[in-house]
Symmetry: C2
Subunit: 445 residues, 2 copies
């Protein structure tokens, strides 16, 4: 199995930020076998695909998502109490393996179409998400959530840990999917459960830990009142912070917390649009990266940020850094692209496999059409990618050497069926939403 | 000339925020003649176009732009001194009627393709911009800049005012184009010239005044040192603030300035992405709108915000309001859509003509394809428009009853030629940019 890409503007995102404006890249057995500038070599038996001068770059890595929640997308917009008003009631009533499969499949379709090749998910019924990633051809991390708020798939933490064990067993047969344990947040598990997660992880060292960290003010108040320290410090005291732990958000971190995250080798998933839409503020990305913390760019769930491509995140990520720094200089465009690719892979412990175009890595790559008038003229490809590219500019997507999309046609999922399945579930939600709104209107009366 | 649109999800953006999920709309002689829900009426002789259930909404209004600067797009990204390092030297050397025509045509193409049907421009050689708008079929306001920094098309203010007179005469033959006088900023004209602008405007009451206002800290320092007041107060004292004056940015406004803008009926053009990318901060949009000031959503020049569609602005506009308000509630999605359409039209004094779908207004409208997986499922069309729609989702564009684009094909401009002309000019810039960078590298040793 060989594929030769020719006439490609290669943005490698390796340490040297190599660029080949007239580049070629050879894939053999799913691995990048060779690449270079100028005339492509002979490659007998290879499928040859002309990239038409378009940008070819690493597939992007989305290190924090709740894929199934695409079915809630756009619901309760601009409403402060939407978690308790809509989300939790709907989740308790409707979250099932079938719902998780339908929503996660819609999200996989959207991510492939937007150039995301690797995602870290965190929700319920995660063996379903594992299967969705496997069948869609994506790479990813699937995290079984543990929480104390009567979540849809476990009535106790014992049941939750059993689900984590089952997830590990399930993923053994899925070569591109990594199992993960996902304590929801320090306040919704408590320190004792975090310690139990650490023990579990020591017994399952190939897995990833995911947690929502330092996201909200009530969370910070809980940690101060219960433990007299920050939530980051609570997690550190429990031993939870280490390489392979993904901390999502990290909005409310002080200098000491940043030092803790650095010392422990924890990775951070930055959810700019989600944080912004919730009015929660702007994470200290420049400070964290300067300290050596890997920070990836994530979408959060599609109820929080609406879309699941990273191009829609870039403007906000960049603008937050520049507004915080009161200057044009912070977080230059090529750093944004590093975060979206190789740094996101590092957050997930997958940077030996994906995140950059380098010989020996798996062939996870995307082709970006740069012909739209809104992108012209082009002085700097990184500026185009960060500030002018839209998800639909992604033309081709390859993961592990396999085409998932060519010329905007996804080859691993049937778009019409995916949309029909998703809208069938959404139809059930609509009746419940109407009932919630009617009950509220009556109560307010 | 009749056109009947059928099977349209009409978002009228009138005072009642009327929606027809199965709507129809009849255009006669460029005017909206009738609209409604359900079965469309007979319309003998009309072109009938099935909208396929897509959203049909008012064409969007971009009340602050420097169209010709598309040729500088993406240049000097992340560089704090780019104004003096790249922009002014390039402008002095290259700005000509031909350059303005090439850049403005590229921008008109991009705006039509992104659903913008009306724009307020502010640059040099504006008779060229007027012709570009006329030939592209767009509606707009063209503003001759006046400034003291040796601008490319006038060596003195007398010459600048003469250009304004010529522009008024030129626009008399162009039915959709309004002439405008555009003092660059209070500090780059001075109060005496602002007073002369007021006199000129009284003699030309059909024109629009445009100015950059309360954008930068040096500007505020100039006003404090020279006049002992804010720049808003300087403009007010000069008599410049009134209905039909468009103040771009208004970042550094205190409560007294907001009162001044309200009392005088001044309109504001909010440039969220541009302000954010420059690290300048977040305008007090909620406070200004609550006070009754009309605030439109603008792109600024494409060197500042890169793209010229308003969909790319919505996320940042919304997020800035929510971060400032520390809540999900500020600036709900339907208010964002109002700002982008009818409120932008009001800022330009054109709300009797465009900005909403109402019987009697000119037929300026766009069709938005809502079939992409990233938009599904749809609970609320305003959420989809603000947080999930991309410029390429715009399928059809009509201005004054004439189709400018159908099925993504722009009918008034020849795309290949527009791009070739733009890239020819950009090629000249590249050599100069290399010379600037080389000189700087040599000077820095």
């Amino acid at each position: 199995m060989k594929t030769l890409l020719t006439n490609a503007w290669i943005i490698a995102v390796d340490a040297a930020m190599t660029e080949y404006q007239r580049g070629w890249l050879l894939v053999e057995d799913g691995t990048i076998a060779a690449m270079g500038e100028g005339a492509a070599p002979e490659a007998p038996g290879a499928e040859v695909r002309d990239m038409g001068g378009d940008i070819v770059m690493p597939g992007m890595v989305n290190p924090h998502c709740h894929m199934a929640m695409s079915l809630f997308r756009g619901l309760g917009e601009d409403v402060d109490d939407r978690l308790f008003r809509y989300m939790l009631p709907l989740e308790r009533k409707f979250v099932s393996p079938e719902m998780v499969r339908a929503g996660s499949t819609l999200s996989a379709l959207e991510m492939i179409m937007g150039g995301v090749t690797c995602v870290a998910d965190m929700y319920y019924h995660e063996t379903e998400v594992a299967d969705v990633l496997h069948h869609s051809g994506m790479r990813g991390v699937v995290g079984q959530t543990l929480a104390d708020f009567d979540p849809p798939d476990h009535a106790s933490f014992d049941e939750g840990f059993a689900l984590c064990d089952a997830l590990v067993a399930h993923c053994e047969g899925l070569p591109r999917v990594t199992a993960s344990i996902a304590p929801h947040a320090p306040y919704s598990t408590g320190r004792a459960v975090l310690e139990r997660v650490v023990d579990w992880h020591e017994a399952n060292p190939e897995t990833v830990i995911q947690i929502h960290l330092a996201e909200t003010e009530p969370e910070a108040a809980w940690a101060a009142e219960t433990h007299g320290m920050s939530t980051t410090a609570v997690c550190d005291a429990a031993g939870l912070l280490k390489p392979g732990t993904v901390a999502a958000h990290c909005l409310l971190v002080d200098d000491a917390d940043i030092e803790t995250l650095t010392r422990t080798g924890t990775g951070v998933a930055h959810n700019a649009r989600s944080n912004g839409k919730a009015g929660r503020g702007m994470a200290r990305v420049e400070d964290m990266r300067r300290a050596g913390i890997p920070v990836g760019i994530a979408t959060d769930g599609p109820m929080s940020g609406n879309t699941l491509d990273l191009f829609s995140q870039f403007g906000v990520v960049s603008i937050f850094a520049k507004v915080l720094g009161h200057s044009r200089k912070p977080l230059p465009t090529r750093e944004v692209i590093r975060m979206a690719t190789v740094e996101g892979a590092r957050v997930l412990g997958l940077d030996a496999v994906t995140g950059s175009l380098e010989v020996g890595k798996r062939a996870d790559l995307i082709r970006v059409d740069i012909s739209a008038p809104r992108m012209q003229p082009i002085y700097d490809p990184y500026s185009v990618l960060v500030f002018a590219t839209k998800p639909d500019d992604v033309r081709d997507v390859m993961v592990d050497g396999r085409w998932l999309m060519r010329d905007r046609a996804v080859e691993t999922l049937e778009q019409a069926k995916v949309l029909a399945d998703a809208n069938e579930v959404a139809g059930q939600f609509r009746a419940e939403i109407a009932a919630i709104d009617a009950a509220r209107a009556a109560a307010e009366g």
